[in-house]
């Protein structure tokens, strides 16, 4: 039930004042990209859903303090991507408690029309560190500029540019058929 004809700042103001329809408008507008960004960074469907949910809950808890002159999306994406990076780091350093594990089963859903090369892309993305995946996703899925990414992740712009460059180089290495084409 999105509210039509009203801007994002009006939705934020309405949500701050307790309007459920305005909150829903914000949610419907921002959930899909936040969810997808989390999924591409953590590469785990359940964790991505949880991270995006938690980011929204965190945003709701902090809503009254939010400066409505600022856009809502970057605020939310900052929470989502930082949590996704933290989750991915934690996954790699978790000490084993029990022996062998249930086989990891997460995988992307089939691409529309049986897209033949989504699996290599998924694997290539998995070869990157979470920090590199995050900047790639912020730049090429959420379409932030390197300067905006630097602000979101509290990184120097040079670091963002470097991660973008190295991430893309690694993707090219992992996807040789694209370079050959």
């Amino acid at each position: 039930m999105a509210v039509l004809g009203r801007g994002e700042s009006a939705w934020v103001r309405g949500a701050q004042e307790g309007s459920l329809p305005d909150l829903e408008a914000l949610f419907r507008e921002h959930w899909p990209r936040a969810h997808r960004a989390a999924f591409l960074v953590v590469q785990d469907a359940a964790a991505a859903e949880d991270i995006a949910q938690e980011a929204f809950l965190s945003a709701i808890r902090s809503l009254e303090r939010f400066d409505r002159r600022r856009p809502f999306g970057p605020w939310l994406h900052r929470i989502v991507v930082n949590r996704a990076i933290d989750w991915s780091r934690a996954r790699t350093i978790r000490a084993e408690v029990g022996g062998d594990a249930i086989a990891h089963q997460e995988a992307p859903s089939s691409a529309p029309g049986g897209e033949p090369y989504s699996k290599p892309m998924w694997d290539a993305l998995a070869a990157l560190s979470p920090e590199h995946r995050a900047v790639i996703v912020l730049r090429h899925v959420l379409e932030y500029t390197p300067g905006e990414i630097a602000d979101l992740l509290d990184l120097p712009r040079g670091t963002v540019n470097s991660r973008l460059r190295r991430g893309l180089d690694r993707l090219r290495d992992e996807l040789p058929e694209v370079n050959d084409a």
Binding site: W31, F39, I102, E115, L125
Partner: protein, 396 residues
Amino acid sequence: MRDRELRRRLLLLRPPDEIGAERRAWSVARPAFEEREPVGRRWARVVRPLLAFAFALALIAAVVNPPVLNAIRDALGTDTHVTVYKRALFSLPAQGRLLANSPRGAWVVKAGGARRRLAGYRDASWSPHGLFLAARKRHAIVALEPGGGVRWSLARTGRLAAPRWSPEIDGSTRIAYLRNDTLRVVAGDSTGDRLVNPSVASVAPAWKPTDAFVVGFVDGTGRAQVVEVDSKKTLWRSGALGQPLALAWSDEGTRLLALLPHSVAVFGHNGKRVGGVRIPGRGVALALQPETRRFAVLVRYDGAQRSGILTFDADRLPGSKRLLFAADGTFQDLAWSPDGRWVVTGWRSADAWLFIGPGGEQKIVSGIAGQLGSGTGTVRAFPAVASSGWCCSPSG
């Protein structure tokens, strides 16, 4: 690779069940938004603690007053052997460590009386050898060392409950837990979290002590189900049981007991109902005595502020019924000592833990809410003895 090509390929990588995920997320976000504290009620943040403090002072005065202890003695009668430890650091009457869950966190009490609070953790339960604990935080399932070190944390939103650690099989373990109305299982090293059943009742899952990861649970239709979790194969499913309150396996895994509001049902290894017994009151808790088929049931007598503990032999129902203890007030949980000689219950209305031992010997530790609860001594903070919470190592 050109940017446009990269973008196109990234956009093809979509999370599974996007629409369902959005629906679930909104179902979580909406109530969270609606439950936000309106600005106008913030004055209550100041006033409420003052009221709570005054209430706590009044309650502490009531608890430490000798008439309260006298009332306990009156409830027990004069022909029983009773030892009352009056608001003191205590020791357990048997080896092992006792796990309790309070509003302030989980407590591990060692046999010698030393105790440690694991702040902020709820619903804690032991790993098979008592080396770790599975617990939940608000939005995570956590594996802990009894000393408080966090081994791993699995972030999950929604309503989390009842993490239960499986037996160890070939060096591997699993943890079953409830998330909203679903049953999920994760490996003991935090990997492979996955859905086992999409619709379950809010009854703690019970692991079968066998050579495969088999869990019993109550599904959304009120039936007991037993599933081999790695293959997701359903081994058996009972008929409708109404509203089961708890499940427990016998030590060798040949009997599954279901506590129902006014009876206990016993199922054999293939799901066939092999026994059952009515109980005189409303069932509250059920616990199998280690290395036997004897079990204890905590009942709240209908129409009376009185509770009792009954024991039965699962193979000789109902003739084996024996009243272990009964008294006025509210009891809330049950656990056997690792050696099977003692059973403990939380006597909530008396703010005490009651240990019943061989020959009916009774030991009471009073002032539990103050020692292990909120620190204010309020009965609201009375800690619950965890399911199978008296564990494990003889070295305690």
